[in-house]
Symmetry: C2
Subunit: 333 residues, 2 copies
């Protein structure tokens, strides 16, 4: 069995060092000291987010370790995307039941391929024995005035979604036997569940255009509510406009609705922008090569004491009564 | 059972917000968005460190949750101290088997009392169900040229230790029944194990005086070797000079040696400084109200191909052969 230090060195430190720019002198101090040293570019701030992934809750024990390495970093990068931040660096803390070389090799491969694609350097971490647990903290940079916050939605804003929703939840249900799908569709769903793609390019392109944004990790119904509460506004959403994949459209309508509105694990961006910015939003999406879809409108609260809520309606404008909740990690699903 | 959001809000977010300066406008954006926003003061860098604590490995299941909240943050602040960094902020990711209100109340109390003492703001986090696991990432600020690195030890430097070593390991052994101690001494050891005090003031006072530094988390023998390897130097250490508490001096000599040299969990600083700076080191220690002790000397490697090593000797200068290893989380102890 590898000792902690040789394990870190073999799978993480060496590759992290290999990916560092040659001119790092005076800049980042990474793995091997008590702390890493990092500064944002002049005039910018560091955007910081942390996520913890636990076996049996965020992934299955039999997940391909390469997919897990990808997903563990992807969900963190997704938070940077939602802020309009440029990825810079990350730390990785890892609790492992045993130091399995094949597992570590696959995991680190999935992790570093994604990290290198976004120029995101591993600058520190911790490794310990224990039940499998991954905690990544990610650092991006963003000019403070163009950061996409949750509290900036304005009445009259359009509500937009990137990509399609619901495939990851459909994949979870297919694995659990809640519904069945063709082999092709099941592969599509599984890919969405295991290989989410952070919308970094879209987040960057939306700087100065979008008002509020977040990434959809716990389901549209629950996550949109965070924007509403922090911005003190309401929303009207056309459930038929919520974009879904061709594969998802082959599942029963009630399953589609459950997966798209309360599914979770989508890691698409939900953002608001003024109606006057529609062309700018479309241009940003084209630049980022990510489709975006308008699904609703932000409204003013009728009274300051009103609780922000989502008015669901269908394509013909008829109101719907839905009892949906976002995924909550302390509720048994 | 509390849901995740109300749990975070009740025990963490509200208290974090209460501790935030009123003029945070345009500065830090903390809990409640996809990312926190943070920037170091002009001309400084962020010092970043992450530690993961797992039940049964870093603490016992029956640990007082308040002590655990203290220790989880203290071990991270200790990494800032070892860098000469001023604490600024931290994130907390928490995996919990259940949302136990009494436990969370105690844990958050221990955490925030220490955080508030050092002006260290909780700016984000994650909470999930799962085996108990705590991952804290801490942020300090430091001018890059006066950061206390591991790779800056010079031949001729004195080697210094803050406080005393070995009490935490003595406490672990007493709990395990490896040795026995009086009730008073056992309480001293237990306090060292559960309530380490990060040497922040000393780290700040040593800026511009010390050459290299680190904090002792895995035992002097293993940790000092990190300085030697990164600085490409050797060391001579007088084992009789290594400071130990009155309580530890009441345990058998072989236990004292094992606890002081290979004990771990001390969270004292080990640093090197030129002999000409002895008065400056003493003044810094006095300013920080922490005793410091000289235990040895840094030496040049005889050949560039030599492996950095520690030459152990006793008070009369006679060489000792010790086979000690730092604590390694993948070795069964």
């Amino acid at each position: 069995m590898l000792s902690e230090f040789s394990l870190i060195d073999r799978f993480f430190a060496r590759r992290a060092a290999a990916g560092r720019p040659a001119n790092a002198e005076g800049g980042t101090l990474g793995i091997g000291d008590d702390c890493a040293l990092l500064a944002p570019p002049a005039g910018e701030m560091l955007a910081i987010s942390t996520d913890m992934l636990v076996e049996g809750r965020h992934f299955f024990a039999d997940i391909d370790p390469e997919a897990l390495g990808h997903k563990a970093l992807a969900v963190n990068l997704s938070d940077l995307a939602a802020m309009g931040a440029q990825p810079r660096a990350f730390t990785l803390a890892l609790s492992l039941p045993k130091a399995d070389e094949a597992w570590l090799s696959g995991f680190s491969e999935g992790l570093f391929v994604l990290a290198e694609r976004y120029g995101c350097e591993l600058i520190g971490g911790d490794t310990t024995g224990g039940p499998l647990n991954l905690c990544i903290t990610v650092f991006g940079s963003v000019p403070p005035r163009t950061a996409l916050r949750r509290d900036a939605a304005q009445p009259g804003d359009d509500i937009w979604i990137s990509g399609t929703l619901g495939d990851a939840r459909a994949g979870l249900g297919a694995q659990r036997g809640e519904w069945s799908a063709t082999a092709n569709d099941a592969a599509t769903f599984r890919r969405a569940l295991e290989r989410p793609e952070p919308r970094i390019a879209l987040g960057l392109a939306l700087r100065g255009i979008a008002h509020a944004a977040l990434d959809l990790s716990d389901g549209l119904a629950g996550d949109l509510r965070h924007i509403l509460e922090r911005s003190s506004v309401g929303a009207s959403v056309d459930v038929d406009a919520v974009p879904r994949s061709a594969a998802l459209r082959r599942l029963p309508p009630d399953v589609q609705q459950r997966c798209t509105l309360a599914g979770g694990d989508d890691y698409e961006l939900c953002f608001t922008a003024p109606a006057a910015a529609r062309a700018a939003v479309e241009a940003a999406a084209q630049k980022a090569a990510v489709p975006v879809t308008r699904i609703g409108t932000i409204s003013a609260l009728e009274a300051a004491t009103d609780r922000p809520a989502i008015a669901w309606r269908n394509a013909s404008g008829a109101p719907l009564t839905l009892t949906l909740q976002g995924f909550d990690h302390f509720h048994a699903e």
